[in-house]
């Protein structure tokens, strides 16, 4: 528990209205999308980098933990205050500071919601591609801290690929800038990259400089239905092998299709065993050509049906199928563990086959969908927590799923990070020397272990 003296000091720093200790507030900042829950001792809403700095200095002096938080949409518990202390909510820092249309960069505060930023730059004919499915509510700071990715990553890359520079409050309270506004820059270590994906353990991000692209003129969406998952996977490698990089290549396996179909009756043919949603963007003429070429290339691969959207409304209808996946999953079982493994593109069918075996072994339904273009599969292990023993079984199944991904030269997380949820499994992927290197960095920056302690590495 923090004593009142510290609470008073926090109030002096950020203003009394921005420190909350009511149990109701503690509850509301004690959860995230993992559905785990831990109560902090206080919730603090700083309004400037200087206030963040002062809070961290106080934390060092008084030795209490500080957990940075954006929208709390994380899937691995990264923002959860396991161990008490304060949750530091950065959503008051929510201004888009500038959009520089000449140099194609933008400077923003971390609390800006991702989609709002996208819409603002698009008004100026510019483009910020990273598009996590949570873009309507997650924050850019959270995206950078988790190095979030989405369907467009195949073509454009993840959040990190758009971060040029940061302003960061280090755990010591010192404010530094990393990177900058230039496309080139080779002076010193690349701290920007180190901080992207650091899950709020190395510093609090208070400003971000993003690189922007010109907004593509048009896009074209296709829904392609295959008679096997191999056909769909082969389609992915064939398209890319033929030097077309679509904006998105989203796939849904048979179990997923059955879920959606059962609930929403979208008329997907019975012989369809896998769906790929393919989108290309660019100049109008180019995408017409690309769409035609893609169709030609995938026809021999067990294509059952190919729907091409004529306009934005039809495109939206095709995407709807993908968006309906999550709500339909509940019909399988009430609780789910959503993992986000990645394997090399060509290994997607292999890993799906192994997952099928795991599903049979544990007799738990597993539904797979995700970003086929970059081999990122959302493995949804569906259980009913109220049935005794199911949760334990799920954890064993998850460990096997991770191992399967690693055996195929993949990784256990492409998007959601480690946080608390994947911490027990980190040794599957990282060798002791790797972990030791990372922990040495953490120790150097945060000797008192006050910033987001207990995350990422096993304690």
């Amino acid at each position: 528990m923090l004593d009142n003296r510290i609470i008073d000091e926090l109030k002096t720093i950020v203003g009394a209205d921005n420190v909350a200790t009511d149990r109701q507030d503690l509850i509301c900042y004690g959860y995230d999308a993992t559905q785990m829950e831990f109560l902090p001792d206080a919730v603090v809403h700083p309004g400037s980098p200087d206030e963040v700095s002062a809070v961290l200095k106080l934390a060092n002096r008084e030795q209490f933990p500080v957990y940075p938080r954006g929208a709390g949409s994380g899937f691995t518990g990264g923002a959860l205050p396991k161990g008490g202390g304060i949750v530091l909510v950065v959503t008051r820092l929510n201004r888009i500071l500038r959009i520089d249309t000449e140099n194609l960069i933008a400077e923003v505060e971390p609390g800006v919601v991702t989609e709002q930023f996208q819409l603002e730059v698009e008004k100026l004919g510019l483009f910020y591609p990273p598009d996590p499915a949570s873009l309507k509510f997650s924050t850019l700071g959270g995206n950078v801290a988790e190095n979030a990715g989405g369907p467009r990553c195949v073509k454009y890359g993840v959040t990190r690929d758009f971060v040029m520079g940061l302003e960061v409050v280090l755990p010591s309270g010192e404010i530094i800038r990393t990177g900058g506004e230039t496309y080139k820059g080779v002076v010193g270590y690349d701290l920007t990259r180190l901080l992207c994906g650091s899950e709020g353990t190395l510093g609090v991000i208070t400003k971000i400089i993003f690189k922007l692209l010109p907004l593509p003129e048009a896009k074209k969406t296709m829904m392609t239905i295959f008679d096997s998952i191999d056909g769909a996977a082969k389609a992915v490698s064939t398209i890319i092998g033929n030097k077309i990089i679509p904006t998105t290549l989203e796939f849904m396996d048979h179990a997923t299709l059955q879920c959606v179909e059962k609930r929403f009756n979208l008329g997907i043919p019975a012989s369809g065993r896998a769906v790929l949603i393919i989108e290309v963007d660019g100049d109008r003429d180019l995408i017409e050509k690309q769409a035609a070429r893609i169709q030609e290339l995938i026809k021999p691969l067990g294509l059952v049906e190919c729907k091409i959207a004529k306009d934005a409304a039809e495109s939206e209808a095709l995407w709807k199928v993908r968006r309906l996946v999550s709500p339909s999953l509940r019909d399988v079982n009430p609780d789910k563990f959503n993992e986000d493994i990645v394997v090399p593109r060509s290994k997607v069918p292999d890993v799906i086959r192994v997952i099928e075996k795991i599903q049979q072994k544990y007799a738990i339904p597993i539904v797979n969908f995700g970003h086929a273009g970059d081999g990122n599969i959302h493995v949804n292990i569906m259980i009913d927590k109220s049935v005794a023993g199911q949760e334990e079984k799920a954890h064993e199944a998850i460990a096997e799923v991770f191992q399967a991904a690693l055996d195929l030269n993949g990784t256990m997380s492409g998007e959601h990070g480690v946080g608390l949820a994947k911490q027990p499994y980190i040794h599957l992927e990282l060798k002791p020397a790797q972990v030791a290197t990372m922990q040495a960095i953490k120790k150097a920056l945060d000797p008192n272990n006050i910033l987001n302690p207990g995350k990422m590495f096993p304690v």
Binding site: A20, D22, R23, Q24, D25, I27, C28, Y29, Y31, D32, A33, T34, Q35, H45, A71, G72, S73, T91, R92, V113, E115, S134, K136, F137, S138, S326, P327, R330, P334
Partner: protein, 421 residues
């Protein structure tokens, strides 16, 4: 915590994904998690577990909800946060008693004659007590109540309430639908012209229109304060009235009343009073919105809606939007000669009224309303059109605050332009 037990299963559905953060107008203005649907659901879960109290902080969080249903529509897990909030408010009022304001609201809406008396008094005495707005229409009163910041504009009150103007049964052509019209207080006392337009349109279609004389307030203002006893009492009286006639449809031209009959009665009162459930359900199934019904009955706006050229923009009332009635009014408007429909940004966003929310959180309500007014003004429309007299009041207030002269009309007023007396 008894009331919350009724929503125990619904509470379990929330996975804390945070999607509601993007859609909750209360959160958009308060900016802190207890104000968002996810937070309110979490607090209700903890109330049920018994590890927080029905104290001021819980009260404050639960009061920050407009019951707009945006979260419910967009929630991937179908969590009915609006119902959960009402039930939490019921628990709060059960333990702490109703606030003076909500108790007063209950007293007024339970009692038609008191309301009538109040309306008459306000109409006659109003100009003496309240300063008249000098500019624009001149018909609006300034309502200098302290909690309204002395700025709120309220509509003027009709000389003769709508319900007193017509016989109970207005026969139509044989073989044509029989419609029971649930009028609602706002139409009855403040916007009788909406009722006249409804009547004209359905008579034009040859329908028999029945306006039961003893219909009461739908009770939503009471629901907003968690006063479900009052809502139940009103629901029972209304049931008795609406059941008196054989009808093909029960029609409302007020989104709020429609929401009550169609959604909140069966979901909230029905769950609480299972003995009424079947009757409430029967009424709910017959309830239709005027625009929906006009389209269904094949109204041809070319015949009824001619008039001078007008550019309008349409605001979706929450209680039509959440019942998926968004297309019908637009199509009718677009089919009307001389009417040009210009979409505003965020037409589907709440206007900020939110039952009694606008009383307790006037600043926030005003901020929401301000965005709405800006969107309306941006379209350059001559009038903003909507399907809810409650929204009409809020939109007028917002536009007046901006010193803007855009008119506020009900969809039916446009549709009945050439047939109204």
């Amino acid at each position: 915590m008894d009331p919350l037990k009724r929503v125990e299963n619904e509470l379990k559905k929330c996975v804390k994904c945070g999607a509601c953060r993007a859609h909750c107008p209360a959160f958009a203005t308060f900016g802190k998690e207890p104000a968002v649907a996810r937070g309110k659901v979490a607090l209700a879960q903890h109330l049920l577990k018994g590890d927080i109290e029905l104290d001021d902080a819980t009260y404050a969080a639960m009061s920050k909800c407009l019951l707009c249903g945006s979260c419910v529509e967009k929630c991937p897990n179908d969590v009915p946060t609006d119902e959960i909030v009402v039930v939490a408010r019921e628990a709060l009022s059960g333990q702490r008693g109703l606030t003076t304001f909500h108790a007063a609201v209950g007293r007024v809406i339970r009692n038609r004659s008191l309301m009538k008396f109040g309306a008459a008094a306000a109409r006659i005495l109003g100009p003496l007590f309240f300063r008249k707005v000098p500019e624009t229409s001149g018909l609006r009163l300034r309502f200098p109540l302290p909690f309204l910041g002395g700025k709120r504009h309220i509509p003027s009150i009709a000389k003769k309430p709508f319900l007193d103007r017509h016989p109970e049964v207005i026969p139509g052509e044989p073989g044509k639908p029989r419609i029971v019209y649930f009028v609602g207080c706002m139409t009855n006392f403040c916007y009788p012209q909406v009722g006249e337009a409804a009547l004209a349109l359905f008579r034009h279609l040859g329908c028999t229109v029945i306006i039961p004389k003893n219909q009461q307030c739908c009770g939503l203002p009471g629901m907003s304060g968690g006063d479900l006893d009052t809502v139940r009492g009103l629901a029972e009286k209304n049931l008795a009235e609406l059941e008196r006639y054989e009808a093909d449809y029960i029609m409302t031209a007020c989104a709020t009343c429609g929401g009550a009959l169609h959604k909140f009665y069966p979901n909230l009162v029905g769950k609480r009073h299972p003995e009424l459930a079947a009757r409430l359900k029967a009424i709910a199934e017959k309830t239709v919105d005027a625009a929906q019904l006009l389209q269904k009955l094949g109204l041809n706006p070319e015949e009824t809606g001619a008039g001078s050229d007008i550019r309008v923009t349409y605001h979706d009332p929450c209680h039509l939007r959440t019942r998926a009635i968004t297309r019908q009014p637009r199509e009718l408007l677009q089919g009307t000669p001389g009417v040009e429909l210009a979409e505003m940004e965020g037409a589907d966003k709440c206007c900020g009224l939110g039952g009694t929310f606008n009383v307790y959180h006037y600043e926030s309500s005003l901020a929401i309303n301000k965005m709405k007014s800006a969107a309306i003004i941006n379209t350059g429309a001559d009038a903003v059109v909507t399907g809810c007299p409650g929204c009409m009041m809020q939109l007028s207030d917002g536009l007046k605050q901006q010193r803007n002269r855009t008119r506020v009309l009900h969809t039916l007023e446009i549709l009945a332009r050439s047939i109204r007396p």
